[in-house]
Each structure stands twice: as structure tokens, then as C-alpha cells.
Subunit: 331 residues, 2 copies
């Protein structure tokens, strides 16, 4: 345990694509523990596209980050000091005080990991925010079921790769889109029935070719032309789960939709969601996903950067498509 | 009853906005009645935007019109000859053999009007396709309920004017958009709490002003910038019923959406529909809407053109926004 704690702060709000100088690392003294608090040494920090939204000064589903204040995000670590009867030294916890080396606070801000034989970082990936987003988005929001034809964008990303594998575990046909030959090859390895390289060809005709009978479900991580392709290919009563629109996070021009009118004739249902809407059902998620991860039926891949210093660049790399699977920083 | 029957045919497929020379009227001999058939003299022909879609050679929820073949559409008329035990001369029926002076065919292609004290043309409007579209779209698809704030586009049109009045009958707050001072005044007369003239000011800031607390429901007849405004103003768990996108029917450039990303944070549900999905529930519709129409709580206004010759121009006028309420041709 260190006496000081390096913490990334928001120095200025990005205008469009974020840049390194929007972030500032400061060493803060480690606070004394109050009664009921614990101190955690972070092992892994989560790096997620949704964090971009909180850097704007707009009300959304979570409050915006404040300029000059510490950034937040998922993290997993070990308890190193406890003044709470609920935690013991050495226990593994996950929590939202990421972007820093160590976290201290009231016990209720930390969650013990469930007793499962998986590696620590999984609590930020397939057994954390991204896995739960994939699970609830596919099975609850889109109500995908055995036999459905599922299209998923950013299929080599943390959420998308989980969607591909959950869909296969549940007996669906899966078409994934990703950018570049290496990602596409990995999407196939994950079990996708077809994979489209959207950097090599336009997405609309590619999807029409790979899904000649149309799609029942679209899991959207991207928005823009991928969403338009899904409109074009949707079968009757298709369901779209809208989880992210990374194309639009950094002030790109507003996307145009050539096929949106198909919403009517095909009775498409488009539904936005945040995985926290399903927190009461986390038991189902841990049971299913925990089993698949422990058995190896759902695999993960991580893009890991080392050291707290690497955090902003890891974040910027998300928008350059530099990650395969889950982006993490190992502290 | 005439010996010949003038029938509008599709002469060529429109490319973009339809024009008069896409249509051709031919006088066909009145067919002999087969056993089980009836003959109907049409009184009113329905003129609807959705007909434009059937003029394209693409598969949709109804098959396309064939070049050189008679056009079809809603119509109401009187039985003038019957070889069916189910119909008597003089009965009023509605059916889909519009665009013509008289219709003949097997009895199962015709529907007797329910026994209600309303004028004949209502079976093509508030008690027909447009009223049912408004009723099921608002109450079933969008699940609008008392206390909701409802935004409706094309609020002076046949469907939109019914939406405004049903919403008020059910205790909702209603904001309608229409083009031009006369239409806006009528939307207010119908009971809307606020009305926006989209020709006088941009729709997004106007809606933000009229709905400072946001909207729970959007009933879309228009698509494009009206839909984008609804994305901008949507409250948590807003429901959008997508009924028509008249802006896009004639090959306009694909609409761009600046606020579509709000689908995620606001958990918006967007659902396309066709009123025929709710045919098994027509009993509810006749009970509620029949009562409102008979009592005068739901009013209608018609833009009526006279004579079978007027049919194509009436249709083209829909896309010029020339109609107030339901567009009809009186044969």
C-alpha cells in the first residue's frame, strides 16, 4: 500500500474526439479510514466507451464528470485495510472508483465478487458491465431465442464478443461485423456463423448477402450505417437492442438512415437500454454467464495496458478501434 | 347503376413524387355477377398516403400495384345487386375496391357497416383505417395512458387529428405539429394543449419549448426532423408509435438524426405498426370510437373532391399538404 494515490482527473471537457490533455493525473494523499470504510488496492481498471458521455456537460443516465474532479469507472481490487465488519483484508471486490491506484470509501460502495473460479479481471468483462450488457440486451431487451438470426456490430469488442457467444450458447445464428481481418477472424473463432469486415466493404450489401433471409435481432453497439443495414435486413417483428452508438460519441455528423422507413412495414421494435435496468436479475446472469465462463464456453480476450499512466491512452484507443475484446489497465 | 365502370389504373410507376400521367382511367364493362357475388355502387373513395408505397415495385406489408392493373383502396358504397344471401340491396358496405365507380366481387370481400348513427364517409375516416390507426397506435403500440404527454406530427391530418382527440378523451396532454396557421388553429380547436407550426419555425426548439418537461409518447406520421425532435424531447421510457413517414415516401434524401443517441439514455422504445395487426380488437375500437363519434366528442373534417376524375389529383395533393383532415373523393 502506498501513502499517496495517483488519480486521473478531468482537466477539460473534450470537444469531439478526446485528447491526452483533457486528462490530468494528480497524486493525492491516502485518506484516513473512517468507521465503516475500507481501502482497496486496484488491480484492474475498466476502460469503456460509455465514459465518453460523462465527459460532456449534459444530463444523461449518470451525472457528468466535473472538471477538476476525479474520474470514475469500474475497477477490481483487493481489500488492504478494513474498518467494516463486512470486509476482510485480502478479499476481492469490484466497485466504481476506477481511474486511480487505490480506492477508499464506505463499505456499501464495494461489492464482493461471487464465489466463482474465474480470474479477477473477468469481473470487469464477461462477468461485469460488458457481459451483463450483452446478456440482458440480447435475452431481455431483444428477447432473442433459439433459432433467431442475430446481427451484432462491434462483434470483436467487449460487449459484442459476449453477444456472439451467448447467442451461440442459446442456439441462434449469428452474423458479426468488425473492422479488419484480425478482428473478423476472431469473431469467427468465437463461433459466429458469418463475419463481415466493414472496413473492407459497405455494410448494407454485405449484411444482405450474409443474411439472405433477413435478421430477427440486431444488437447495436455502433449506430450509423450498421443500424441502417439492420433496418434494411430486418424481418417481420425484428427487435433491436440499442446499447451503444460509438460512431456518435465524439460529435460525428448526424447519421442518415436510408432504410428507417422499414420500421413500419416490418413492425420493427427499437429499444434503448442500460444494463443497470436489470440489476434485480443479476442472479440469472451470474448463474448462466458464470457457468459459461467457468466451463470455457464463453471465452474472453483482453487488450491490457500496464500502469496507471496508461489509462487515458487506453481510453482514446477505444475510439481508434485498437482493442480486441475488453480494454483494461493493469495497475 | 351504370353499364360501364370507370376504374383508375396504374399506368407507370412514379419515380419520386407521383404525377398525373402515372394514372389512367379506363371504362370497363360491368361484369356479370357470379353466384355469391354482390355489386356495390361506391359513394366515397379513400385517399391515403400509404397508397404511394404500393406504387413501388417492392415487397412490403401489402403487395405492390401492378402496372396496367386497377388501383385499390378503401371505399364505402351501397349494394345495388346481390347474389349472396348475406347482403341485401341498399345495405351500406366498406371494402378495398376503391379508385373506381362500382365494385363487384364475392361477398367475403365486403363488410357491412356496424349499426351506428354516423355518416357513411366516417367508415373511411374516424371509424375506418385512419381512426383505427390512431386508436391502436396510441393506446396499444405506444401504450399511452392518462397523464402522459403526447406529441403527434401531421396533427391536422386524418390520423393525427384522431390521435389528438383520442388522447384528450383519455386525459393526456397533447402537443400537435402541423404546417400553416389554418391547420394549427384547427389542431387547437380539436383540443390540443399546444400546437406547433413547423412551417413557421424549426421543430426541435419549438417542441423543447412546448414540452419543457419532455414527452412520454410520440405518434409519428412524418419521420425526419419531427422524429428527431421527439428523440430530443423524450423522457425516460418514452414510447414512439411509428405509423407513417410521409417525408420519405417520395424518395427524399435519407433523414439525418442528431438526437437518435438519446434512445439509449432515455430507454426509448420505437415500434412500427400497421393497424391490421389489431384486427382482432376491432370490437374495442368500435365501442370506444363509435361512442366518441356519435356523441361528437371526436370530430372530423374532410377535404372532399367530387367525381371519379378527381382521384389522382386528390392523391397528389396529400403530398402537397393540401388536405385538412381526411381526404375523400365523392363519386
Amino acid at each position: 500500500m502506498t501513502d499517496s494515490n495517483r488519480v486521473w482527473h478531468l482537466k477539460s471537457r473534450p470537444n469531439g474526439l478526446p485528447a491526452a490533455d483533457n486528462f490530468e493525473m494528480k497524486a493525492l494523499p491516502a485518506p484516513a479510514l473512517e468507521e465503516g470504510w475500507i481501502r482497496v488496492e486496484n488491480k484492474f481498471l475498466s476502460v469503456d466507451p460509455y465514459m465518453r458521455g460523462r465527459m460532456n456537460d449534459v444530463k444523461s443516465y449518470v451525472p457528468p464528470f466535473e472538471i477538476g474532479a476525479p474520474l470514475e469507472g469500474g475497477a477490481v481490487g483487493k481489500v488492504v485495510e478494513s474498518r467494516s465488519p463486512h470486509f476482510r483484508e485480502g478479499e476481492t471486490v469490484f466497485h466504481m472508483m476506477g481511474w486511480r491506484e487505490a480506492a477508499a470509501g464506505p463499505a456499501e460502495k464495494f461489492n464482493k465478487v461471487p464465489p466463482m473460479p474465474v480470474e479477477d479481471h473477468q469481473w470487469l468483462g464477461n462477468l461485469g458491465l460488458t457481459g451483463a450488457t450483452a446478456y440482458f440486451g440480447l435475452l431481455r431487451v431483444a428477447q432473442a431465442k433459439e433459432g433467431d438470426i442475430v446481427f451484432v456490430s462491434a462483434a470483436a469488442g467487449a460487449v459484442g464478443s459476449a453477444v456472439v457467444q451467448i447467442a451461440k450458447a442459446k442456439g441462434m445464428t449469428v452474423i458479426g461485423a468488425a473492422g479488419g481481418a484480425e478482428k473478423v477472424a476472431w469473431v469467427r473463432e468465437l463461433g459466429a456463423d458469418a463475419a463481415i469486415d466493414y472496413k473492407a466493404e459497405p455494410i448494407v450489401p454485405a449484411l444482405m448477402r450474409e443474411a439472405p433471409n433477413g435478421i430477427d435481432v440486431y444488437f447495436d453497439n455502433v449506430g450509423g450505417d450498421h443500424l441502417d443495414a439492420a433496418f434494411a435486413a430486418a424481418r417481420q417483428k425484428a427487435r433491436f437492442a440499442i446499447c451503444g452508438m460509438i460512431e456518435g460519441y465524439n460529435g460525428a455528423p448526424p447519421p442518415a438512415f436510408r432504410y428507417i422507413m422499414r420500421v413500419i412495414a416490418a413492425r420493427i421494435r427499437v429499444q434503448g437500454f442500460i444494463y443497470t435496468d436489470y440489476l434485480p436479475e443479476m442472479g440469472d446472469f451470474y448463474r448462466d454467464m458464470g457457468g459459461w465462463v467457468a466451463s470455457g464456453q464463453v471465452k474472453s480476450r483482453e487488450t491490457v495496458r500496464d500502469g496507471i499512466e496508461a489509462m487515458p491512452e487506453a481510453f482514446l484507443d477505444l475510439f481508434r478501434g485498437a482493442n480486441m475484446g475488453k480494454m483494461l489497465v493493469r495497475v
